[in-house]
């Protein structure tokens, strides 16, 4: 579904040259829930921004559903962002002037695909994520967890190939975090969604099938969740501890 091959990305600030990604390679299969973890400056958000086509990269390749993103022009990239990718951000990125339901429908409205089922799908997503009762409210009137679940619903409305989530629980309390992560799980389980999430939170990551640990711009290690969530979280914490010692 998503393949990243030997990705290099660097920044130049004044006379200083920073190499952020130093040949990152990874792949995410359909229906998989993958997290990327790592210390600050490890390159995880840069990786996500490259996959999201927000920032250009120097070399390497990103394939989404078999399509190389680097070769696409601006209009094609916009179509990819609209139909093949779904986004969930730490600060929700909802439009304050639109209701919850309108926010969810926004990707469909942008694409002009406002057929008869758009509103039903939006309503179904609201029900699925437990935000049906607030669907006519504005973002300013709902809680952080509800905002993030709205963002998850919005990310799913166009049935994307992959949902890209950047610290989706970073601004939430533990209860809301759990609700959001559970909504991801639900999306994967009931809608077959593929989720690629960047996070600092081992609790959130423990819900994933796989966690990729990054350090200094390279993939340091991959961990697979083979059963119990709590045990996987312990395993993760131990791996992070070990990584920080090296």
């Amino acid at each position: 579904m998503l393949q990243v091959k030997n990705l290099h990305k660097s920044y130049t600030v004044g006379k200083q040259h920073y190499e952020v990604l130093k040949g990152v390679s990874l792949s995410v299969e359909k229906g998989e829930f993958v997290a990327v973890m790592g210390p600050s400056g490890s390159g995880k958000t840069t990786l996500l921004n490259c996959i999201s086509c927000y920032i250009p990269f120097q070399s390497g390749e990103i394939l989404l559903g078999g399509t190389a993103l680097a070769a696409l022009d601006e209009n094609a990239l916009a179509r990819v962002r609209n139909t093949k990718l779904g986004f969930v951000f730490q600060d929700f990125m909802l439009i304050d002037g639109l209701t919850v339901r309108d926010n969810i429908m926004l990707p469909r409205i942008i694409s002009g695909n406002t057929g008869g089922d758009m509103e039903q799908i939006a309503d179904r997503l609201c029900e699925l994520f437990g935000i049906d009762h607030i669907k006519h409210k504005y973002p300013a009137e709902i809680s952080g967890g509800e905002k993030q679940r709205t963002a998850v619903a919005r990310a799913l409305i166009n049935h994307p190939l992959v949902i890209l989530a950047d610290e989706p629980t970073g601004n939430l309390d533990s209860k809301s975090s759990r609700a959001v992560i559970q909504s991801f799980e639900q999306a994967r389980r009931e809608l077959g969604a593929t989720i690629f999430m960047v996070t600092h939170d081992s609790f959130s990551a423990s819900y994933c099938d796989r966690v990729i640990l990054m350090k200094d711009g390279v993939v340091y290690r991959e961990l697979r969740n083979v059963g119990d969530r709590s045990a996987f979280q312990d395993h993760l914490l131990a791996a992070i501890k070990e990584m920080s010692r090296e």
Partner: protein, 709 residues
């Protein structure tokens, strides 16, 4: 909601405050500029302000300042608008909207805002100018000259400014959308404005540069003219003023970023300073605009008190209540007719003195000008008969003035003002007199170091009685003589009706031959004829050189009262008709001041509200940190006061210092009239400062309300 344009419309409704602000700012800018240009290009004003004169230059200078101010203000408003729009635009882009989609909707919005505000501003500008003028006519003064007429070319200026606003909004919009990095757009509204390091010396250097720029800008043109014999194009003085504006920018930057407080008191204002620091460039730009507009507004405001006080004191200081002169060949009202008229009007004439002078040719130096691509250069040339002036005998001078002077035979003395100053209006160093009928020449020695002081006879010359007799002996024809009459009355203030009647009688008795402007000089006309050139001051040539001709039928117009060569000087008439005569000048400058102050108030008020909106979160954080309401109030007050107080102080003191410098450098001293005039200006400053303080209080209250303090 099923289409993207419906989403956009919903957001427009939701964010109508942002739209209103941009629309209001654009509208306001175009309105002010249109009103200003309507007035500036009005035939009512143009016929009164002499072409190439200082007043017209001042009006143009303040117009340029107002244009720059309004342009920057609109630019600022648009940058806030796009900043507020950046988040939703970023979200649209990241959700897959194409730039083309967003551009179409954004440009439709911009078209609505820009065309709507510009059309409304341009349409209402002229009515606003008319309305303000109408209020002046109703409340202050009304005269035939005050009837406001419009010139269609003013519309062109308004159109140009409107086009600028429209193009600027679209360019800003296109620039906003062109940003390729979505991350930057998404984060735009969270970004603080970067500001480069501001060194501690910026403030001091700024003040020095302002002083240097002010002096350079004022002195360089006269240096060019006097020393280099070069009339530089106006742009040269503009360039010389550049250090002043750089200095002003440095000074404001230092004030905003570093502040002037050192030591521990710095911590007391740390929040205010840090907030201002990160409002950075926009705050400094706004403060710069406000400072410049305040300076422009005061510059215009000072015109009326300086002129008014100067004129009124001049009238009051005259030693003679009634003075008039006429060419001796005119069938003028006689002494008995004047006395009869006075009797009929219940006025008692207390003393009467009259005398006669002769119009004689004078030598002098003239400028031979050469047009070059970089202005006009000149060389000077001595001419034996350059112009003609009225020359009195010492006996006549003594009789008219009551002084007892003695001019040595073979010498000549010029009559200056009461301070002995010739005000650079004439050359006192005359060495050769010519009888304009016979061509007979008399060589004289000018007593330049002992000028005669008598303002009522300013510009005339005095000869020894014998010399006068010799040079005028064969000056045949009464037209070469000038008859001067001085008299006082017992109650001057009560003699307005008599003064008016006598003035009309003098005009009615004057022939078309003397329907000339005061700059007309028969000797100069002869000189120009002798070198085969056209004399611009001749009545038949005035229109050609865009000068207003003198017309006896327009005897109440300012042109007539100010520029008729034989205009009587009647104290009561001049005092009572001053405002009426100068109405257009006075009201025009008051109008300009109102426009500039209105711009200042709106810009400063808007800026304060934006600061409040931008820092709402910070105030929440401060509350969480335990800041008391009193502390929050003090920090809010600190921000608002910086927007108002710094530009007010800098603009007011700067323009006051510039004005004082101009007054002083005119004659290297402050005359009593100038000091009193500046005192009157100070009262205006106090009054305007009080108004601005009121607006400051209102802005402060509104900011506190927005911040929940």
């Amino acid at each position: 909601m099923r289409t993207f344009s419906e989403v956009y419309a919903a957001l427009r409704r939701k964010n109508r405050g942002h739209y209103r602000m941009l629309t209001g700012c654009s509208f306001f800018s175009v309105l002010l500029i249109t009103a200003y240009v309507t007035m500036m290009r009005s035939p009512t004003v143009l016929t009164v302000l002499p072409e190439g004169g200082d007043s017209r230059k001042q009006v143009m200078m303040v117009f340029v300042l107002a244009c720059v101010g309004c342009a920057m203000f609109t630019l600022y408003a648009s940058s806030i608008f796009f900043r507020q729009k950046s988040r939703e635009t970023g979200v649209f882009l990241l959700l897959g909207a194409s730039r083309k989609q967003i551009r179409a909707l954004l440009f439709a919005d911009l078209a609505r805002i820009s065309f709507g505000s510009c059309i409304a501003g341009a349409a209402l500008g002229a009515p606003l100018a008319w309305l303000i003028w109408r209020v002046f006519r109703l409340v202050v003064v009304d005269s035939e000259e005050m009837v406001l007429t419009f010139d269609p070319t003013a519309g062109l200026f308004a159109l140009c400014f409107s086009v600028f606003v429209i193009v600027m909004l679209f360019v800003m919009g296109a620039r906003f959308l062109r940003r390729t990095n979505i991350i930057d757009v998404v984060n735009e509204s969270h970004k603080t404005e970067p500001i480069r390091e501001v060194k501690a010396w910026y403030g001091t250097v700024g003040i020095v540069l302002m002083i240097v720029g002010g002096l350079l800008g004022y002195l360089a043109p006269s240096f060019c003219v006097r020393v280099l014999q070069w009339y530089p194009p106006s742009i040269v003085s503009g360039i010389c003023y550049i250090p002043l504006f750089i200095g002003l920018y440095l000074l404001l930057l230092h004030t905003v970023v570093n502040g002037w407080r050192r030591g521990k008191s710095r911590y007391k204002h740390i929040i205010t300073t840090s907030i201002m620091k990160f409002q950075g460039r926009q705050t400094v730009r706004n403060m710069l605009v406000i400072t410049v507009l305040i300076a422009g507004a005061y510059f215009a405001s000072f015109y009326t008190p300086m002129l008014g006080v100067g004129a009124m004191m001049g009238y009051a200081e005259r030693p003679i209540d009634y003075a008039y002169h006429y060419r001796a060949d005119q069938n003028m009202v006689t002494e008995s007719e004047v006395r009869e008229m006075a009797k009929e009007e219940g006025v008692t004439i207390t003393n009467w003195v009259e005398g006669e002078g002769a119009e004689l040719g004078m030598d002098g130096t003239t400028q031979i000008e050469t047009e070059t691509p970089v202005g006009t250069t000149y060389t000077t040339e001595y001419v034996e008969m350059l112009s003609s002036e009225i020359v009195l005998s010492e006996r006549t001078y003594n009789a008219l003035t009551g002084q007892q002077i003695d001019v040595q035979p073979g010498h000549i003395r010029a009559v200056c003002d009461d301070n002995g100053d010739n005000q650079n209006m004439f050359d006192p160093d005359v060495t050769r007199l010519t009888n304009l009928v016979t061509g007979e020449v008399m060589h004289v020695i000018p007593d330049s170091d002992a000028p005669l002081c008598y303002t009522m006879l300013f510009g005339r010359y005095v000869l020894d009685d014998g010399d006068y007799e010799t040079i005028t002996r064969r000056l045949e024809g009464r037209k070469w003589f000038d008859h001067i009459v001085f008299f006082n009355v017992s109650d001057c203030d009560a003699s307005y009706a008599f003064a008016k009647r006598l003035f009309h009688a003098i005009v009615d008795r004057s022939s078309p031959e003397v329907e000339v402007i005061d700059a007309y000089n028969i000797g100069a006309e002869q000189y120009y004829q002798s070198i085969g050139k056209e004399y611009a001051m001749a009545p038949e040539n005035l229109a050609k050189y865009q000068l207003s001709p003198i017309d006896y039928d327009q005897r109440d117009s300012s042109d007539f009262r100010l520029y008729w060569k034989y205009m009587p000087q009647f104290r009561v008439l001049d005092q009572n008709d001053f405002v009426r005569t100068m109405a257009v000048y006075l009201m025009l400058f008051i109008f300009i001041a109102i426009i500039c102050f209105a711009a200042v108030i709106i810009i400063a008020y808007t800026r304060c509200l934006t600061i409040a909106l931008a820092n709402k979160q910070l105030y929440e954080d401060l509350r969480h940190l335990g800041a008391s309401p009193d502390y929050l109030f003090r920090t809010a007050r600190g921000q608002v006061s910086r927007v108002f107080i710094t530009p007010c102080i800098v603009g007011t003191t700067g323009i006051f210092a510039l004005y004082a410098m101009i007054m002083y450098l005119n004659d290297n001293q402050f005359t009593f009239q100038e000091l009193v005039g500046m005192g009157a200006c100070l009262i205006i400053v106090l009054a305007c400062t009080l108004v601005i303080y009121g607006v400051y209080r209102s802005a402060r209250k509104q900011v506190c309300r927005l911040l929940g303090i």
